[in-house]
């Protein structure tokens, strides 16, 4: 019995010790929660960086799905040489609602909007934050929300408008708004941003953030879409008046990694190859020639998109037949031509089909053999585009000769002769669109979206695509719409039954 009396207390002590009140009240040790975040300025800044981060995916502002897959392949100047089915669906304008890439684009943009909404709501409620910092953070977030919505309305038309933070108990199946409502929200966000954002950031560590000029430049694009020529003109003049931007004399140097943040870049998605390329991009592997020696292509190359011969042939040539346009020599190589920097790489005369089907390769983003995610930035909006947008507004306001002055700035830089300042209004518009086509290959400008907003897309492909007959336009009622809209993704309707499909497409059911 001694043993018994000795052990019982020991066991009872264990029994009681295990029942402490705090025992079940644990907090996560590995993640922050809404309970302990949004307390300090660094929390707010970090959340803002999270909104910028959503620019990097290929589906949003990475210049892949929008710029290459949709804009440039749909208009037919870039060729999807693998004939990968979802890309062919875009190239042939079959545009099924379950296309992988348009679904990724839609989802990725809304993730950016969601991140921006959190920052705008939460930072707005923070009390221990200097007014200036608060205003700056919110202005950047609004700029980003504005451009995420810009891309949505640009491709899908009126989409669901979500402008506040949502949670598990919110109404999540938000119906579509009209395009006009979305444009209004974009104008509000970009105007709010332009009022607060600096022309240039004082510290170099902030290079790459949204600026007043970037907000105005997107406003111009929004006005052009809505044919608000007057407003577009005013905003364009504001940008020019900032005197923050200029065209670089050498076309290629606009894109070079060593020359980031140059005077021509209004806004670019930032990538870096530090930290093993965790913040790097893949535009180099998308554009480099597949199967080329590793010393030139580093971790690999896919030749996903190569220029079509029709586009090459559109460049102005001299009497010997040689292309005059410096823009060609800046960012393209063809048979027998050496890479601009890696001069050891010469495109073979009888090129292996794996390199490129047409003989040409875009070297805009393929500048070096990178072993990790590439640090080449993706240009989103350049001063060259600002000038052409300005020209479009001027022309519509019946100042065609002023418009041509802007066009000639670009031609001069390209080594081409000036065009007459006396061109008729419709010819001026043609000239603007010609420069767009030759200037912005594989950038989110100059192709489908620009043509579409002026209703020129169907005429353009009829005139320029050699495979026009294969598209069988008559069987595709969505191509008869103005503007032509990308279908709302099937995956979106699967979970949000309030969505209605765009006109011309089979309705959801």
């Amino acid at each position: 019995m001694k043993l018994v009396t000795r052990y019982i207390p020991v066991l009872l002590v264990i029994f009681i010790a295990s029942c402490g009140k705090k025992y079940l009240d644990l907090q996560p040790t590995d993640v922050l929660t809404n309970a302990n975040f949004f307390k300090t300025e660094s929390d707010a800044q970090s959340a803002l960086i999270g909104v910028y981060a959503q620019l990097q995916p290929e589906a949003t502002f990475g210049n892949l799905i929008d710029a290459a897959n949709m804009d440039w392949t749909m208009s037919g100047d870039l060729y999807e040489q693998d004939q990968n089915t979802p890309r062919v669906q875009l190239e042939m304008l079959s545009l099924p609602a379950d296309n992988t890439y348009t679904t990724q684009l839609y989802a990725g943009l809304y993730q950016g909007i969601s991140r921006a909404n959190v920052v705008i709501d939460r930072v707005g409620e923070m009390e221990n934050l200097a007014a200036q910092a608060k205003a700056s953070i919110i202005a950047q977030a609004k700029y980003l929300r504005g451009i995420y919505y810009y891309k949505l309305v640009n491709y899908f038309g009126g989409v669901s408008l979500v402008t506040t933070e949502l949670n598990a108990s919110s109404k999540l199946d938000v119906p579509r708004a009209t395009a006009a409502e979305v444009w209004k929200q974009i104008e509000t966000d970009l105007n709010d941003a332009a009022a607060v954002l600096p022309v240039t950031w004082p510290g170099t560590a902030d290079l790459g953030r949204a600026t007043k000029g970037a907000a105005l430049a997107f406003l111009v694009k929004a006005y052009l879409w809505q044919q608000k020529w007057d407003a577009a003109l005013t905003a364009s003049e504001q940008i020019v008046a900032l005197k923050a931007y200029d065209l670089l004399p050498d076309f290629r140097s606009v894109f070079l990694k060593a020359n980031e943040h140059n005077k021509e870049i209004v806004f670019a998605t930032q990538y870096s190859s530090v930290n093993n390329g965790s913040e790097g991009g893949a535009l180099d592997t998308r554009s480099g020639p597949r199967g080329a020696p590793a010393q030139y292509i580093g971790r690999g190359a896919n030749s996903n998109f190569v220029p079509q011969t029709a586009w090459i042939n559109a460049f102005e040539r001299d009497l010997t037949g040689r292309i005059k346009d410096k823009r060609y020599w800046g960012v393209i190589i063809g048979p027998g031509e050496a890479h601009q920097e890696m001069t050891g790489f010469v495109m073979p005369l009888t090129f292996p089909n794996s390199y490129t089907k047409t003989g040409y390769i875009v070297t805009k983003y393929w500048q070096e053999a990178s072993l990790v995610g590439s640090g080449i930035n993706a240009p989103i909006l350049r001063y060259a585009e600002v000038l052409l947008n300005y020209a479009e507004a001027l022309n519509e306001m019946n100042r065609s000769s002023d418009a041509m002055k802007q066009v000639n700035l670009l031609r001069k830089r390209a080594g081409l002769e000036d065009l007459s300042l006396a061109l008729a209004k419709d010819k001026v518009l043609d000239a603007i669109f010609y420069e767009r086509r030759m200037e912005f290959v594989w950038e989110p400008a100059g192709a489908f979206s620009d043509l579409n907003h002026r209703g020129r897309f169907m005429d353009f492909i009829k005139a320029n695509r050699v495979d026009y007959d294969k598209i069988q336009v008559d069987t595709k009622p969505w191509l008869k719409q103005q503007p032509i809209l990308i279908p709302i993704p099937q995956g979106a309707w699967d979970v949000n039954k309030s969505l209605v499909q765009n006109p011309g497409y089979p309705p959801f059911k």
Partner: protein
């Protein structure tokens, strides 16, 4: 010492008393009783409990047999009548009564014990926090003895349980050595985690699989238990039995009891076995000539120029066959060694095991070392201590075998037969896919290893405070330490480029402790029998991990992080904790052994849940009526030896969700949150995003189950039947809310949404007897299953995961249908000529494309035309088990089958299309495509060959991919021989107690119409089950072994 050797004789009743002989000792006032206990093959049995009782004066004493099966009672008072009871776990107990002992006489007994079968009523069944005799059970509990498991040589016991327990559907998720099983008790109750709770000697074990880095399969977490250390496995199937485990019992509970030391001199056991595994079925792939012919046709059909290298198919001949190169006959070996024994007060058992298996796929293997020690100590008459400590070390090398993209199994299927085994994929991108690689070279240049150490055990003390009242306290620990490494050297192999060598190493450390305190009481008075247990338990989990990656190695000889470029090293790490606290109680009452009643309640608290739902209650009641004990049944007793009705109801929970789901969590500093700003070689700006919006009302899922059953045995238990009907309803199923894309959440919040109903019948029927020394035991079991989602609560159906590399979604979960059923278009055949094409329905179709059925006849093909085209869940599963023995020979035959399930053969996307998803170039295909559609062929079940699939024949889920998943498999066949004890004695003296040799074959025969590699497609994710993406096929194995007892 003298005793008579047992002779077999009257054997109609296998258990019998055989010899009573008067001894010629001097007359004394007391007598000696001694004897010997053997098993059915004549080997001595140690540790059998022997109780002698004088029924007249209630004198009782007991002992156990020693290491050679002998027992002795001295100083037994003459008189009587005496009865002798013999019992041992795993054997039927027996009692012989009516002996009168003469003064001064030695009574010698020779007893043969018979191994118990499932139906044996005196069998002790482990239930939560206690044990019960099978006859007293009121819930649905199935038991499998260690002996049965050990007949199936396997590295994990769950594989050996396949087909043995009705209502427990076990399938292998991978044929990789050590590969994990998916265990489903009574269907699938949730779209989340469905693995049951495992309790090993009272320690609740986490069921997280060990994943080999870079591979797509897991090592079974329960493979840490050497099957040869298992005494018995008990499965708590109904909620009433599992409710004592509260918030963790919803998927059922599997209780594992390991072997412990028994009283008697030392017993040493050595088991050794060896054998090999091989693929049992290899679908045929195109040879070089056929491949080139198909390829040329494909290009011509698409208006493309065929590859000049393939212009003359005849000249290419047979070519290479990578499937034959990637799979080989794989040897395995298994050894284990144990020592056990003990005295009345101290018993111990020690064991060590080693298992070494090669995989049938090249560069895959598995090695395991196990060790286990148990000890039981009795201090005085009221205090017991005991404990166990086990260790397992697992090493494994894996390959990314299962993945459709880049897995070596799939690469082998896709490899160009025109190339030889050392070739690269290279050439014109129109012909050679950039995504391919040579599987052999890939397997040889990637080194993915897992090294896991697990140490777990418990110590307990038990005090009998007053007679029948016991206090028990137990402390368990479970440490789980995993180190993985993944090496890939620098190379450029055709299109496949690895620009620099990379080594990633990960170390994770999981630890939990578990404290149980229980107070139990049992008392008999008159015809009443009462027992009760109350208790408290708490458990704390700790998890942390750290990983490091080094890049760019100066010398690839040194595969350590330290040899990498110092500026290119990355590290990461994290940690988390969680706690559980519970209180529980159960009361069992029986009247005259006839009316049985049991009730339990558990209260559980978990740190994973928010303040609104910290605690939950889990009650259960069950009752039984042993109708055979009623007096009106007495006339039938020679026919119906036992008949019990039982019924139960209980409520259990499933708390398997990520911790802190009630909070909005913010993720910081990952690549998808960070951005980069500034000039030049930009620096990283740390970003943060809300990774998952919180749900403050989140709680565990609750499962309610009713079970009605009967256990009947006839003709002195020779024929036995167990039947159960259950209905299991999961409410508040945890679902990842299908969130509209417009909400823009990074991850979906978890909500308590759905309601799922599983119901079914389970039958087990057996017959056992012995005729002239020929013993047999035949049993069959069958279970039906009907799974239905009765509500989703969250509005929208849940679309299952996308097939990697494509936009195809194959499964769907919606109200009124089973979880994760297959959904897609119905293929009505193939458009034979362009004129037949309904362009409104399928605008992009051309002749040779599938005709999709316009289900709602509205003239357009929409989501509404996608219908149920199959389901991964069988309508019924069954097993047939036959044991025969004659003299020293024994034979076990075990069949297992499933019926009514389908397989979604996702591999057809690549195997039939000859395309790497939507990528460039082509790949090889199966021989079946020789019968593809061509103009005028009239073929209606395969589309034509094309480079670009505008109609989406291979990107739309459709009935084309669905095949019948039924199979019947000769899971196990063993033939063994026990060398007779007297032969052994003659040859080896007393060196051996028993020697058994056996040969075994597993998966010897499989009946199936499935045309893929293997119809057994287990998956741990119910939303992605039954989808064959090139799962490592189950092998057929042959082995032989020997088992020695010293």
């Amino acid at each position: 010492m003298r005793f008579k050797v047992f002779r077999s004789g009257m054997a109609l009743i296998a258990l019998s008393i055989l010899f009573v002989s008067p001894a010629t000792l001097k007359a004394q006032t007391t007598s000696l009783v001694k004897g010997k206990v053997q098993n059915s093959t004549g080997s001595p049995l140690a540790g059998v409990s022997v109780v002698i009782r004088n029924t007249k004066d209630n004198f009782t004493t007991g002992t156990s047999t020693d290491s050679i099966g002998m027992f002795t009672f001295s100083n037994i008072a003459p008189g009587g009548p005496y009865s002798f009871s013999f019992s041992s776990i795993g054997y039927d107990g027996q009692t012989f009564s009516g002996y009168t002992i003469q003064p001064g006489i030695t009574l010698s007994l020779a007893v043969k014990m018979v191994e118990s079968a499932n139906a044996s009523l005196d069998q002790v069944v482990v239930v939560g926090y206690g044990t019960k005799r099978k006859r007293d059970l009121t819930g649905s509990v199935s038991s499998v003895s260690g002996g049965e498991l050990q007949k199936v040589p396997s590295s994990n016991f769950t594989a050996a349980m396949q087909g043995k327990v009705p209502g427990v559907f076990i399938s292998q998720t991978s044929g990789a050595p050590g590969g994990a099983s998916s265990v489903r008790i009574r269907g699938v109750g949730t779209t989340g985690n469905n693995q049951p709770l495992y309790v090993v000697d009272g320690v609740l074990m986490g069921g997280d699989g060990m994943s080999v880095p870079g591979s797509s399969y897991n090592i079974d977490p329960l493979s840490i238990i050497n099957p040869n250390d298992i005494e018995s496995v008990d499965v708590l199937k109904d909620a009433a039995s599992a409710a004592i485990y509260g918030s963790r019992g919803a998927n059922g509970v599997i209780l594992v009891t390991t072997k412990r030391g028994k009283e008697g001199g030392g017993t040493v056991t050595l088991n050794a076995s060896t054998g090999f595994a091989q693929l049992w079925q290899k679908p045929a792939f195109l040879n070089a000539e056929e491949f080139a012919t198909m390829a040329n046709e494909l290009y011509v059909n698409s208006g493309l120029t065929p590859n000049p290298q393939w212009a003359n198919p005849k000249s290419l001949g047979e070519g290479s066959n990578m499937i034959d190169e990637v799979f080989h006959d794989a040897p395995f070996q298994n050894y284990d060694f144990s020592v056990s024994g003990g005295t009345k007060s101290l018993k111990a058992r020690l064991s060590l095991g080693y298992n070494d298996q090669m995989g049938t796929m090249i560069e895959t293997w598995y090695k395991r070392y196990t060790g286990r020690a148990t000890i039981d100590l009795k201090v005085g008459s009221r205090l017991n201590f005991g404990g166990s400590l086990a260790f397992a070390s697992t090493e494994s090398k894996g390959q990314n075998s299962d993945a459709m993209q880049g897995g070596i199994f799939n690469l082998a299927q896709q490899f160009f037969p025109t190339l030889n085994r050392d070739s690269n994929y290279f050439g014109d991108g129109l012909y050679y896919t950039k995504d391919g690689d040579n599987p052999i070279l890939r397997a040889n240049t990637i080194d993915n290893k897992l090294n896991n150490s697990r140490i777990y055990g418990n110590v307990f003390g038990e005090l009998e405070i007053i007679s029948g009242l016991k206090f028990r306290s137990s402390l368990g620990i479970d440490g789980n330490f995993t180190r993985t490494s993944s090496w890939q050297g620098k190379l450029q192999r055709g299109f496949y480029i690895v620009p620099r060598a990379t080594l990633s190493e990960n170390y994770d450390n999981r630890f939990n402790w578990l404290l149980d305190n229980t107070l139990s009481y049992s008392k008999k008075f008159g015809g009443h029998s009462l027992s009760a247990v109350i208790g408290q338990t708490s458990q704390k989990f700790r998890y942390n991990w750290i990983s490091a990656t080094g890049n760019d190695y100066l010398s690839e000889e040194l595969q350590v992080i330290n040899a990498s470029d110092v500026s290119l090293r990355n590290t990461s790490g994290s940690n988390s904790n969680s706690t559980l606290a519970s209180y529980f109680g159960r009361i069992d009452y029986s009247l005259n052994g006839m009316y049985l009643l049991s009730a339990s309640l558990r209260r559980d608290g978990s740190s994973n849940f928010g303040p609104n739902n910290k605690w939950g209650y889990f009650p259960a009641v069950s009752a039984g009526w042993r109708i055979s004990e009623e007096s009106f049944m007495a006339p039938l007793r020679h026919i119906i030896s036992d008949f019990k009705f039982r019924g139960s109801w209980g409520r259990v929970g499933n708390d398997n969700i990520p911790a802190f789901g009630y909070l909005s969590t913010i993720r910081s500093g990952t690549a998808v949150d960070n951005y980069t700003l500034g000039p030049g070689n930009q620096t990283i700006a740390i970003g943060s995003t809300i990774v998952r919006p919180g749900n403050p009302d989140l709680k565990w899922e609750t499962t309610e189950q009713i079970d009605i059953g009967a256990d009947v045995s006839f003709f002195e238990d020779k024929l036995y039947l167990t039947a159960d009907y259950y209905k299991k309803t999961t409410v508040g199923m945890l679902i990842s809310l299908p969130v509209s894309l417009e909400a823009g959440f990074q991850n979906s919040p978890t909500v308590n949404g759905g309601r799922v109903e599983n119901k079914g019948w389970e039958f087990l029927l057996g017959y056992r007897t012995s005729i002239n020394g020929f013993r047999f035991n035949l049993s069959g079991n069958i279970a039906t299953l009907s799974n239905k989602v009765t509500s989703l609560g969250v509005g929208q159906p849940i679309v299952g995961p996308t097939l990697p590399g494509s936009s195809m979604t194959m499964t769907y979960t919606k109200e009124g249908e089973p979880i994760g059923y297959f959904r897609g278009y119905v293929v009505d055949g193939v458009y034979q000529v362009d004129a037949d094409i309904n362009k409104k329905l399928q605008p992009n179709a051309i002749a040779g494309d599938f005709i999709y059925h316009d289900v709602n006849s509205d003239g357009v093909l929409t989501d509404a035309d996608k219908v149920k085209i199959g389901k991964p869940w069988p309508d019924f599963t069954y097993g047939l088990n036959a044991d025969f023995s004659y003299k020293g020979f024994d034979l076990n035959v075990m069949f297992q089958g499933v019926s009514g399930s389908q397989i979604y053969r996702a591999n057809k996307v690549t195997n039939y299309q000859m395309k790497y998803f939507n990528g460039n170039g082509i790949i090889n295909g199966v021989k079946d495509i020789l019968n593809h559609w061509t103009p005028g062929s009239g073929v209606n079940d395969q589309p034509g060959l094309k480079y670009t699939d505008a109609n989406g024949n291979y990107s739309n889920a459709s009935s084309f991919f669905v095949e019948d998943g039924d199979f019947l498999r000769l899971r196990n066949l063993v033939i063994g021989y026990n060398i007779p004890f007297d032969v052994l004695r003659r040859v080896t003296g007393n060196a051996f107690k028993s020697v058994r040799v056996y040969v075994n074959a597993q998966n010897l025969v499989t009946f199936t119409s499935y045309k893929g590699f293997d119809p057994e497609i287990g998956s741990t994710n119910p939303m992605n089950s039954g989808i064959d993406t090139g799962i490592y096929p189950q092998p057929r194995t042959y082995s032989g072994g020997i088992s020695l007892n010293f």
